[in-house]
Symmetry: C2
Subunit: 633 residues, 2 copies
Amino acid sequence: MPTVTFLPGYRKATVHQGDSLLEAAIAAGLHMNVVCGGQGKCGKCIVFLKSGTASFDLEKYRRFFADEEIARGACLACQTFVVNDLRVEVPEQSLVQQQKILVEFPGTEIPPDPAVRKYVLRLSPPSLDDTTPDVNRLLEGIERQGGPRPNRIYVPLDVLQYLPRALRQGNWNMTATVALVPGGYRLLHVDEGDSSNRLYGAAVDLGTTTIVVYIWSLADGRIAATASNYNRQISCGEDILSRVTFARKGGLARLQQLAAESINDALCAAADAAGIDLEDIFEVMIAGNTVMTHLLLGIDPAYMIAEPYTPAVRRMLSTAAGRIGIATHRNAGVYTFPAVSNFIGGDIIADILASGMAEREEVSLLVDIGTNFEAVLGNSDWMLSCAGAAGPALEGGEVLFGMRANPGAIERVRINGDTLTPTFTTINGAGPQGICGSGLIDLLAELIRACVIDRNGNINMEIENPRVRRGRYCPEFVVAWKEETAVAKDIVITENDIKNLIMSKAAILGACMTLLDAAGLDHGEIATVYFSGAFGNYINKENAITIGLIPEVGLDQVKNIGNGAITGANIALINRQSRKLLDALAQRITYIELNAEPSFMDRYTSSCFLPHTDLTLFPKVQQTLEACRMRRG
Amino acid sequence: MPTVTFLPGYRKATVHQGDSLLEAAIAAGLHMNVVCGGQGKCGKCIVFLKSGTASFDLEKYRRFFADEEIARGACLACQTFVVNDLRVEVPEQSLVQQQKILVEFPGTEIPPDPAVRKYVLRLSPPSLDDTTPDVNRLLEGIERQGGPRPNRIYVPLDVLQYLPRALRQGNWNMTATVALVPGGYRLLHVDEGDSSNRLYGAAVDLGTTTIVVYIWSLADGRIAATASNYNRQISCGEDILSRVTFARKGGLARLQQLAAESINDALCAAADAAGIDLEDIFEVMIAGNTVMTHLLLGIDPAYMIAEPYTPAVRRMLSTAAGRIGIATHRNAGVYTFPAVSNFIGGDIIADILASGMAEREEVSLLVDIGTNFEAVLGNSDWMLSCAGAAGPALEGGEVLFGMRANPGAIERVRINGDTLTPTFTTINGAGPQGICGSGLIDLLAELIRACVIDRNGNINMEIENPRVRRGRYCPEFVVAWKEETAVAKDIVITENDIKNLIMSKAAILGACMTLLDAAGLDHGEIATVYFSGAFGNYINKENAITIGLIPEVGLDQVKNIGNGAITGANIALINRQSRKLLDALAQRITYIELNAEPSFMDRYTSSCFLPHTDLTLFPKVQQTLEACRMRRG
């Protein structure tokens, strides 16, 4: 079988003839950038053939490459197939790099009240006068320490099996770990001596792309470690749909395993850094969208993607870690957040928990933006939700120089209204390679303020400035000259890019408008807009309103809750009362199916302007734009 | 490696040099008779060497064989070791045969109220207007059929995993199987169509020697099938102590497996006979003694046999069948009866349940006799219990011609007071091979009535009758002449045998007396004596009182509950209310440790007479014996 060697790291993979270079890269342990899931559409998985023979259709992918690149052997890994031994160079930007994954936990007022407790026991050994069975002796000891009554505690078989020996090896000085579970209590573990300071729980944000993990010391309610990494399922498809398709084609078990491995990777990294033994993690709270939750639990998600789009389960589930391959203590309870619908999943319930909006009388709007977006409107009495596809534009897909929030991404942009010269910052200060979502929003807002584009997103080609020019296919604006970049090309934003961005943001604004309609509210009645997710955390609020991403509210009314999924998971992990209420919360959220809502298409169409067709809905933006236009003359 | 071929069935086993013939027989699938657990003490595992070389110590075991037998190659399988290829003949009586294992279920007034129910559901399929998740749809359907509320039902992961496909394959016409479990309900299974008539439960008497299984149709509360077989653990030791020793030496997992296999064998036999699929058995109720219960669950029983004799657990346990290798539906709940102590196990709790004594105000005495005996005295207010070793005499061990209740065993004996000619019946009417427990009790009672023996058990050698003679080692009485038997030997009972039998019965009577003492009661205050177990079922009540096996009460006050363990298991299986009370019942039974009770030794010594040293305690027996003595002159 042919061997493919990847430079510069000399990673090797032995593969079958006809396998794609993407498959070879995965086998070699490389995480390629495959936004389109390996369909040859995104053009992100560029590699350079150095030696050997491969088969590919050069014409088909020419549009991704300059002639000079083609001459150097450029091709797309997903569309290039191994014929014999190959040496392939992988440029850094083709690899998934450590993105800015949100791991910060905003200070919370949630009092620690975990569902798992340890009881330190000094038991009297049995004697001829006291032949109380081992289990009773232990459970009575727990009760004496303020724990639950013995007949309320279920003792799993595996604990029973090791208990007699353990008690004697530990000389009857033991620590018992007991969890509150639905319907009672469960004895998770018994070990020797006093291990009360080693009681940990893990909160997990199981994202389609990234995994974030917090390990908490439940003994004292502090964060012990955090870590994040990619969801290894990416190798089976970038987006949710392609994962469900993979699952349907017999890949469910593989996806289940990859989900567990991804969580384990992050858990290991965090635990190692903090010197924690994974065996001391006794509870895991997981927030993921509905499909991710199904896949983690090995439940077929196939019926979610075909009419009538029914999930297998929405309510909170619990299972033992050992049963789904989570590398904590095998008896640790793994809890998954409940969902509202296929598209309003556990991650959004976690967002709501993190925002606190469900406990307040005032009306809040919560928006979580990724390839898909979710929006929730409501208060402590009622809640409406909807979701839709925003398209990949806001995450850097379908945008020529769009990229994820990796080092080298332009994340902040200002444009001098006179010279049209942009000033920008990149993530980690690296040489610019492309533009990530927050940079794109800045660009759009700045371009409209500078009157480079109109409210339809058309570039004004009458402007005489070298940055405004006609590109290969359409008009474009040069954000960075070749010499300033790390990719040896001018970084531009094209009119096509702008149209894609407008369609993305219109879907979001249209959805928010539809929710307000359904609630019979005016956008002025929104007290707070919460942005959740990595995206929301980095965008410029004013610019987001300027382009009409969300309804116009005061800037001080817009709050970023950051990674709401992990924050919600943290809260539900450390506070058992919060967790108890989640099913009820999920049940009281009404889901509005936008495709079945006739008003949505109108709302969307009206939103396909910067910021909206009806400027009276954006009075402050209207003032700003008029001021800009007057200044430009 | 040498091969051992066993005749007449030509079963073969390839073994290591130095392995015993007993090990070879087990490997060949033969169930040898090894009362002593393979210690060379019982002399029951006789085989005849036909060809090949084996090593053994002839002198050591000569006492078991006549010269003629030694000449024919007789040896004990457990004490004979393979040197090279062997052909070995196994006489039928050396094999464990189908004993009279009690499987009859006395008619009971217990109303069927099982903890497992099936709900037949005709669900409406999901539509765009109703995208209720699969699980909710199912659980709501169960509630509409009168089942528990959805949030009270735990759905195990494996059901979740197959549910989406199953619902669609079944076109939404399904049957859900739900069990009441501690703390709530559990969805055990979902299948297509209406399977409501296929709902079974199994009650199991997990004995040290034998397994009895009842399969109940829980849908209509009738017995569907019964079966019994040997406990395969016998190959690791005949008695409890040798099993615990085997477990301590690393054999715990093997014993666990053998226990499960033994139960599975019986379940299969019963299910096959009735055309039942084991997958349709959704609950299993197991009554076993404390060690058997530990072994079945894979819990180390080692600490029960060394001071201070502490069991790991006494309370009722539940686990999923799949976790301990029980071949029913893998999610079926397996429940084990609680215990009072190491020696008053779940089998005795089942006896008590079967007797109904715990619900009545009048005082009952329950006696369960085997190699060990257990006795329980009490009523609905209080209960005392004790246990001890009766020795194997009453089961045919330590008695020259003693045997188990196999075909050919003399089970009833009468002796003509003048001619001393016995008349007897054998099990299955086969030619006599030996005497089983009920026959031995008859013999003792008849011999004392015939004045052949005195109250100490000494044979009156002055009697001139060919049946009364001096044997090889001591006086003996000929029960059957060589010509009448199937073993080509005179079947006798020796004075030694009689002394062993008296010591056995004295342990039991002494224990009953000790319980009465502890309760401050006279034996006249006992309303009912219950015999439990195979032994009690076959013995002659009057003879049992005549020899002083139990305190003297009216014959109509003695009741046989038969196999109380299986009856109790049946009751707890079909009636969930009965099951609920078991832990409380076990907790209110006081255990008296006879070895720690100074009065017991006195009571035992006083009982080492026929029937007792103090004949005023046995007034009717006294009258009978005096009448006999007067008749004999």
